[in-house]
Amino acid sequence: MEQSGEQQRSDEDYGYGLFPKRKEAKYKKGSVGESLFTFHNKCQLMLHFALETSPYAKFLLGVMKQSGCTAYQDRHFSCEDCDGTVSGGFDAATSQIVLCQNNVHRQSHMNRVVTHELIHAFDHCRAHVDWFNNLKHLACSEIRAANLSGDCSFGNELSRFNFGFKRHHQECVRDRALRSVLAVRKVTPEEAKKVVDEVFDSCFNDLAPFGRIPHSKNDVKFASRDFQNRDRYYGNL
């Protein structure tokens, strides 16, 4: 799940408080609903465009389809209003990716959020990830999503005024994973940092399904080629 603003709650809600529409029983209509509909429409369009044109998203969708988890826009994706500055999330209980229509307004941002959440969905599809009870599993998927989605690209970090270079990618991944864990779990920063540190080496180096950190569309092309070639590769080792 993406990072959020700071919110204090007295009980563990697994981050569902950031996505209020997930639990609502009634659909509110009215003038506020009308302006939301415009955001909703725009979100659906941008999502469709991302799924059709983003090389990262298309690659992940293709790999997941091969693994038996075909993702359909109308079943596995949902545009909703979210709290704070959250951009999206993955709801393992419903196998759905949530896109925050009130916080994602640019196509490039949508592409990146979709990629990030698809990595969570991919992890859910291929592994027994205990999202709700195992903080290490959650931290691991957040490290991987920050690492492989482009969240921590040089350009994105520059736009956040984070001017690091040597090995900065890893610092960014660590920081963003930490923030994501803190956004959705009632743990102290020290606890979250400890868990992120514990699993960092394993999860930063788990590059599935890309096999490399994709810094560009070209890297995704290479990853896609390796994936197409996997039978030949493993059959001739």
């Binding site: 609903g33 988890c69 205990d130 090995r167 950190i213």
Partner: protein, 111 residues
């Protein structure tokens, strides 16, 4: 159950020679070197891709056992490098049972 006699599939390099070439060229590129330093803080050596390409061409020409051995060793080392650390979670044998289950429509998923 019987195995088809003499039906072993002939060995060939794990990647095509063109793939080794393009990986080498990609590895050497300024873009890739820049991003490798950004991610790992170390400079990159691309020699192994070139060596693999040459072994691949050698195999195509001569089918030499040495070229085959070199390629297998190189690729096994790459796989080992990717599997250096124990995974945090257990992999599934099949996808989650509820992936395609219909959503509960008493709660609207879209606002």
């Amino acid at each position: 159950m019987t195995a088809a006699a003499g039906a072993a599939v002939a060995w060939r390099p794990p990647r095509s020679c063109e793939d080794y070439w393009s990986e080498w060229k990609h590895c050497k590129s300024l873009w890739n070197r820049f991003h490798h330093y950004y991610a790992f803080g170390t400079s990159l050596t691309c020699r192994q891709w070139k060596a693999d390409y040459e072994a691949c061409r050698e195999w195509e020409k001569e089918s030499s056992a040495e070229a085959k051995e070199l390629l297998q060793q190189s690729e096994r080392a790459r796989v080992a490098e990717q599997n250096k650390f124990a995974p945090v979670w257990q992999l599934r044998q099949k996808p989650p049972d509820d992936w395609y289950l219909p959503l509960d429509h008493s709660k609207p998923q879209d606002s």
